[in-house]
Point group: C2
Chain length 338, copies 2
């Protein structure tokens, strides 16, 4: 039997599944006051993390998460053969300065807020191929560095529409292993760029929902399963607006996931007390929720099978200001409790 | 025998090597007037490629290169299971809008000018793993979109120091296959981020040379070979200044590659007539030289074994303006004529 089986047009099945050996999450103050606070490993009260600027602070969150994940895994740093990582900032500076001290051969990734899905997918393929016994997967985001890059100066105090999401300050890292660990990566479904022509950069949920819907539809089709095959189908950061669109798009295609859907963006903040509007977003949103809540629920066997789908809006201020759309992408990872 | 063998600390050997089935290069006017002009597939005289802005033009170069590589490969688009690609622009907009119409499951990569090395490496691992029979690897760069993002407005007409390189306008794409094609990917050596503390954004060669030197040193060590194992050791875009540093760093460690070294940045322009100073650079530099000159020399059996090492300077205006260094990275791909 082949180690990897191609399924349908966008999926693969790992017949000897790699595992998530350890996960670690390090988040900011606001995330540490939210509904998932008990599941994070570290809450850093200082948004600057003792650094001089937000970008360096973001790198520090990642550095901390990586070191923590490695410590928890009990794997010797030298055994980690590749690092798969990225963030939202231009040229991935959050990652570059966050991981360079680790001196691990590095593959830089960009999938906007879907990046941890990309990292887990490529990390799993790499382990399954035999090219590595251990790899590290990591992403980060920071509210302030993201606002600075994508929107307005914080000092300007712009009003945020209700469809807007709040970028999570935080980073998560995962050590993947060939055969140790309780949570298996059973398969992946890799997303295409989906462009429904949406041009509202303040409504990322709407930009990403078509990509998530397409991915879920394909996953079910490629593996010939129904939504209730999974205990949970968990999207990254669609928020409330995106979730509504997701349900509608899937229903139009005869698929109903309302019973077992969860969105990390909706879970991570409480809009009634935290003024976050549609939900959380950023590479750190789905990544820290995976390392926190999701791994907790799977370790305690509350959830056995999870389809984890980080979602990304391929927004750039340059293309946006030139009148381009904001396409979306999603990366699906099938997690299963051993 | 395992399909993939881990070699030393940073390398792998493919015992059933994937192949480059086809390569295509589409370049701008200046590249089409340079020493490598006869090797490119298409030369586009209009820097705007009929579009409204430089970023869309860059996407158009990539679209053309991808379509050409697919046509040359004679592979049905639907058989191409993954696309590995990226570019220099923030959030990879060159790639997003260049490839979205292809609707191929997409892994976005960022390795600055080393990106084609990353794409070929991950594409080869993916094929070798059994996850795909065919994948597409692509990158692009555009002189004007890069200057706009990283340096000064073109209208300002700033003077360029002699250590500066000229960003190549062009894109290349490659179809990798499981077993068809004359040029094998025998192995890869994956780079770490190397930071020698250099802060001169106008001297990218100096920023990248340590990464290239480290990668070459590790490749020779991991495979226990000497430089003359290769007919050519080809770096991406160190230029003349970077080449000098590369030779010095390797000599300090007892390795001499002067006899068989070539740098795509030095080859692609003629400084005496084209005023390009230290050489060419950008994701398109090494990628179009591979699709053009290098594949030509290998197909005609002039070169049997090549170590191809695209190099990247992890420069961002944000981190640079905040006083950070410009670290480098390199990705090594061992090519062998069947």
């Amino acid at each position: 039997m082949e180690k990897i089986e191609q399924k349908g047009i966008q999926s693969i099945l790992f017949n000897e599944p790699p595992c998530i050996l350890s996960g670690a999450s390090v988040v900011g103050k606001k995330e540490g006051e939210g509904p998932l606070k008990d599941y994070f490993d570290e809450i850093i009260e200082d948004a600057m993390f003792g650094k001089d600027n937000w970008e360096e602070a973001e790198s520090e969150f990642m550095k901390e998460a990586c070191n923590l994940a490695i410590t928890k895994s009990k794997v010797d740093l030298k055994q980690i053969r590749y690092l798969f990582g990225g963030d939202l900032l231009g040229q991935l500076i959050g990652t570059t300065f966050g991981i360079s001290a680790l001196k691990i051969p590095f593959f830089g990734l960009y999938g906007a807020c879907s990046t941890i899905g990309e990292a887990l997918s490529l990390g799993s393929i790499t382990i399954s191929s035999g090219a590595a016994d251990y790899v590290l997967a990591t992403t980060s985001s920071h509210f302030a560095s993201a606002e600075k890059q994508f929107r307005y100066p914080l000092e300007y105090g712009n009003q945020r529409p209700l469809a807007a999401t709040w970028t999570v300050t935080g980073s998560a890292a995962f050590v993947l292993s060939k055969d140790e660990g309780d949570i298996l990566v059973k398969g992946i479904t890799t997303g295409k760029i989906m462009d429904y022509g949406i041009k509202d950069s303040m409504n990322m949920g709407a930009c990403m929902a078509p990509a998530a819907a397409d991915l879920i539809y394909q996953n079910l089709k490629d593996f010939q399963i129904k939504p209730d095959y999974y205990d949970k189908i968990i999207t990254g950061d669609l928020g409330k607006v995106g979730q509504e669109i997701l349900f509608k798009l899937l229903k139009d295609n005869g698929v109903n996931i309302e019973r077992n859907h969860m969105d990390c963006g909706i879970e991570i903040f409480d809009d009634t007390t935290q003024d976050t509007h549609a939900g959380g977003s950023g590479c750190g949103c789905s990544a820290t929720t995976l390392a926190g809540l999701i791994m907790n629920r799977m370790s305690s066997r509350k959830w056995k099978r999870v389809l984890f789908i980080p979602t990304g809006a391929l927004l750039s201020t340059v293309s946006f200001n030139e009148g381009q759309t904001v396409p979306g992408i999603a990366h699906g990872v099938i997690l299963e409790r051993r």
